[in-house]
């Protein structure tokens, strides 16, 4: 005779207390998101430098359409949903992932290179021939993005494969951890580790920038530092997005493929609008010359453009140099797209992880 009765799960009073304290944290986080949403929808969207206004840009401006409006509001909802879905289990995994990855040697080596490079920018700024501010920003923020990208690729691509290789995933999945929580926890842990790395880079860059520029800029220095911080925060969001791509590809293919794909996404994603522009030009050209090949190429470029994240929007160093203000609306519009993109990528990761065998 087979048994089908399930024993009630051994939940204790302590467990209920932990659940309750986690609920409180969740509610606080969600309240924060709601506050942002209220701010955006009342005041924030009118802040200076709305999408495509005023900026002298090398690519055609990103036109503000209905889709963008939906995306911006959906970003809030997805973020809230994401926070709601996190369980104490996911947070336990996130914390463990953070503790483990933050001390991974490869990452520390990359970080040290990054910090040295960022600090060195100020030393070599005499090379800039007068355009010191531009030079420091371009190279410094560029270094944060580039080294950050290396860190997120290494971090993301090895996250799950390492767990499989070491067979620790067997013990994990034999515990009451469903695969949604596993992927969410791993992702949050990655985001935390990236955060710690970016924070270190931000600190070094801020100190270096201050030391080099505070006598020149005087009263302006704090505004400059704030702008740098905005730039680095957007970079961080782009890095989280890249890491989610690396995690996903590593689950459905392998580490190496994940590295290659993420590099590709990074480089072409930075081209962003230019890709679309080139696509439009090619289609125009084919209309004039009747060359079907150009039309196909142009359309495929536009398809690639739509599939790729707009990383160029996350890179605001050139805007800053042009004194083009970066308002809250620009920040959030960019981040909202990033959230939607990351969310979609994570859903794919979850689908593959769920059907995956170990």
């Amino acid at each position: 005779m087979a048994v089908s009765a399930s024993k009630p799960l051994p939940h204790s009073a302590g467990y209920a207390a932990e659940q309750a304290s986690w609920r409180v944290k969740q509610i606080l986080l969600i309240a924060g998101v709601v506050a942002l949403a209220i701010y955006y929808n009342t005041v924030g969207w009118k802040s200076p430098a709305a999408m495509g206004i005023g900026a002298v840009r090398t690519v055609p401006p990103w036109k503000w359409g209905l889709l963008d409006f939906i995306a911006v509001e959906a970003g809030f909802l997805v973020l809230i949903y994401f926070i709601l879905r996190l369980t104490p289990t996911a947070m336990t995994i996130a914390k463990a992932t953070f503790q483990e990855t933050v001390r991974r040697k490869v990452l520390l080596v990359i970080l040290i290179f990054a910090l040295v490079a960022i600090a060195a920018v100020t030393i070599f700024s005499w090379l800039s021939l007068g355009e010191e501010e531009k030079f420091i920003r371009d190279i410094g923020l560029g270094a944060v993005l580039f080294f950050g990208m290396l860190i997120s690729v290494v971090l993301g691509a090895w996250l799950i494969p390492l767990e499989i290789e070491r067979k620790t995933i067997f013990t994990l999945l034999a515990k009451p951890v469903d695969r949604t929580q596993l992927i969410l926890g791993k992702f949050v842990g990655t985001a935390l580790t990236l955060g710690a790395n970016v924070l270190a880079m931000w600190l070094v860059f801020t100190v270096a920038y201050y030391l080099k520029r505070h006598t020149v800029e005087e009263g302006q220095i704090w505004l400059s530092l704030l702008n740098n911080t905005k730039a680095i925060f957007l970079t961080y969001c782009a890095l989280v997005l890249l890491a989610s791509v690396a995690i996903t590809v590593s689950i459905l293919a392998s580490q190496v493929v994940a590295v290659v794909v993420t590099f590709f996404v990074y480089f072409t994603g930075l081209l962003g609008g230019q890709l679309r522009h080139a696509g439009d030009e090619l289609i125009e050209l084919s209309k004039r010359t009747g060359n079907a090949f150009n039309a196909i190429l142009g359309q495929s470029l536009k398809v690639v453009y739509w599939l790729l994240p707009r990383l160029d929007n996350f890179d605001i160093s050139s805007r800053l140099v042009l004194e083009d203000p970066v308002g809250f609306n620009y920040m959030w519009q960019t981040i909202a797209w990033g959230i939607l993109y990351t969310g979609a990528v994570l859903v794919i990761a979850w689908m593959f992880l769920d059907s995956r065998e170990f």
Binding site: A2, G14, Y15, P176
Partner: protein, 313 residues
Amino acid sequence: MAIGDIIIETRELTKVYKPPFMGGKGHRAVNNLNINVRQGEVFGLVGPNGSGKTTTLKLLLGLLTPTSGTISVFGEPPRNIAVKHRIGFLPDGPYFYDHLNADELLDFYAKLFGMSKEQRRRRADELLAFVGLTEARHRRIREYSKGMVQRIGLAQALINDPDLLFLDEPTTGLDPIGARQMKEAIVRLREQGKTVFLCSHLLADVQAICDRVAIMNEGNLVRFGAVEELLSDTRYYVITVGDLAEEALGKAKEQQLSFTTPDQNGIHHFNASDADGVTRVVDFVRGVNGKILSIEEKMDTLEDVFVRAIKGE
């Protein structure tokens, strides 16, 4: 739920590993397996390397999806999270987050069960004492010997006080003392009322601690039953005899008695399969004025049964 109820059941369970690329037949690692495990027993899944034991275990844990057939664990499909609250698992050649120490590792796993801080501490204390790692609890797992890793592995498998424990090759690779401690731990767990499902190719260990076994070979079930039952039809007797004359041996052959050639001391060993056979040998030896030195009851080991089963006898 009472002792003896079936808590794991597989029906026509089959797993074919797909080849990495399209085409090809794939590898049939488990073929039409029908086994069941009862509450409160130590169940052994035995078979040579590559016979499909670990594959079966991973199917039972929901780490693999069956190609066909069904599995029920506590009446539920194995991927069910409620099932995970009641089981523990020690993988083959386990590896843990080795930057942690034993305390931190157990704390991590305990958190996954939603235990409170105080419960986690108490449970870690109990388990570290149970597996004898209390002294080493603050050392990193990286510094542990293989036996210690296996013991912390057992501790993490027990973190939720599971009703059902899955152990993959728990004694393989341990030194004799470590293997013995592991076996003693398993016996103690059975006494606590836990059901243990273990995979092993070490037959002496399985014979010593298992109530029932399933013998697998190349994915097929070749024997299944209580250890005693599998061994009981292998009982035989050896009668050691001295002072036999040459012509007496001729008579023995006529009577179709089975015996060995004498050793240096002129001692013969006669085999008999049952009590009647023993009487016949004894009568014969008396008739030819031989000396009976001893009569011993012998039994095959699980290993003998196993080897014959694998050879298809």
